[in-house]
Symmetry: C2
Subunit: 359 residues, 2 copies
Amino acid sequence: MAPLQPLVTVNLGVRSYPVYIGNGIIFETGRLARDVGLRGQAAIITDETVDQFYGSALRESISQAGFKASLHRVPAGERSKSFAVLETLTESLARAAVDRQAFVVALGGGVIGDLAGLVAAIYRRGLPYIQVPTTVMAQVDSAVGGKTAINLAAGKNLVGSFHQPRLVVTDTSTPKTLGVREWNEGFAEIIKYGIICDPSLFEQLERSTPPLAELVKRCVEIKAGFVERDEQERSGERALLNFGHTVGHGLEAAAGYGTLLHGEAVSLGMRAAALISMRRAGLQTAEATRIQRLLERYSLPTRLTLNLPPSRILEKILSDKKFIGGKIRFVVIPRLGAAQVTDEVGKEDLEWAIASLAE
Amino acid sequence: MAPLQPLVTVNLGVRSYPVYIGNGIIFETGRLARDVGLRGQAAIITDETVDQFYGSALRESISQAGFKASLHRVPAGERSKSFAVLETLTESLARAAVDRQAFVVALGGGVIGDLAGLVAAIYRRGLPYIQVPTTVMAQVDSAVGGKTAINLAAGKNLVGSFHQPRLVVTDTSTPKTLGVREWNEGFAEIIKYGIICDPSLFEQLERSTPPLAELVKRCVEIKAGFVERDEQERSGERALLNFGHTVGHGLEAAAGYGTLLHGEAVSLGMRAAALISMRRAGLQTAEATRIQRLLERYSLPTRLTLNLPPSRILEKILSDKKFIGGKIRFVVIPRLGAAQVTDEVGKEDLEWAIASLAE
């Protein structure tokens, strides 16, 4: 077979890894895992829905490359990002005699990537793992960068680790089996990249939708840059990727995990952040309107139709973020294509923006 | 105040940290935390028993150094090394608004150190932490080296991380409040260091018991050396510290966590490993007898008096260790003061040794 070239490399010294992107590339997973030096048995973690579509293709590729594999399935959906499922999974790996030489394969969307990545980080004090993202959301965003997480009642992603994968295998034909909501939610993160640092991507999306493989490559390149400059979100640089996520995470937690899809919550959160940016960072009304229109073009919510008390949303944001002197660290955009962290956003700004979402 | 000098430093490049050892040194915890550069609020994790004895001394020291602190208590004992307690603790930290600038303080014995270290590794994707070990076991062994863990039904310490502390504050006056079983169990690990690499320590213990501060310093120096040479137990060097632990962990899991203290299980495991070393590594009978006698001198068990089916113990060892062609990787001692890993130990050796413990 001809050698495959990674389309993007995430450069992190000894923790660098390749991202392969292509149609049908899931069938190459086994040999790519060999190429990056993985040797032991494979522990495949996936959800019941993804397993039906892609489980056998992946297992075949893994076993054809000579790996022994075990399969560990969890229910689909955000509620699987819990301690209960983490315990079930690790006990399942132990029963399958998954040892320290093994590696984990995360086959699925953002939930599976976050969860399986954390399993890999803590099972037997850490195994290597590979990401095989099957949704738009995971392909353009969560499969790259090494953030793993589960949720607490107190807030989203409050437990996790920074644990970089050894390899990302992105088959851009797999999202075709997504439902329409799950397809569209991925575009919330694509639009986010446009808003915070790539105005030409934003404009392109306003005109028409480029092929998915092209979008994935562009988004992964952007994300890799942020991760390379600030792997563990210390300098504030990587924090810019959280644009729309403060209010978004508050909405997800307040509504009950799984009620709003992550991308839907981020869409609402980005509209809120755009409104706050008008107040606090000089964003022009016309640009905030363009953001709202583009989100709506992908059928993403910009109005809160759930019956959620604003106080409950604010309470969830409060348990996630620290208010110092009544202010919060918050990502704003002075204009399309530029983002910055500010300490100037107060509780009343959040209350006003949340109320505006409900109008 | 006069500056304190660390008695031992664990040299791991950017992850190096000092170990302070002394009587009454718990009162210096706050300023030592400042000295190593910790700045945010402190989340103190301890158990109900330790809190009664040392909670107020520690909190006072922490707050006198200007830190805000929150207290998070769990029941005493091995059963707290569970996903359930991990969830309770992380939710408790979130409710106390413990943020990414905070640090964790592990105040207690080996259980608290393992558990609080894992909380620090995964809460908000990782906080720094300090160890304040209060038992002989934790002071001579578990507080140094960065291994954190909880247990699964399938086996001990199967979930965890390598997460080095930023500081270890060892007050050698705190173990005086231990019960006699808890005091003695710590000597299992001290004797272990003598067996695997320090015959003069072994001989010293045969004659009399040196002061605890002297034993702690010597053991921490030995342990630091192993950790520096093989931080993540990759080369096999650090694995030598697991002498007696394969059978020991199997006994702990089979008896039900907390039935045997860890040191008691290790004592039984070391006798088993000595017997196997006679068979497989040429250990002389006289030296195996000396090991048994020294363990008994510290009232440590060398005979299995619990009514445990050997098959159940073996099953727990099997779910922890991988048998390749009927053999297991196992630490043996060809003579006192020398340890090595061998692939020559089979299931029947384990069965024989376990049966010998029960005789």
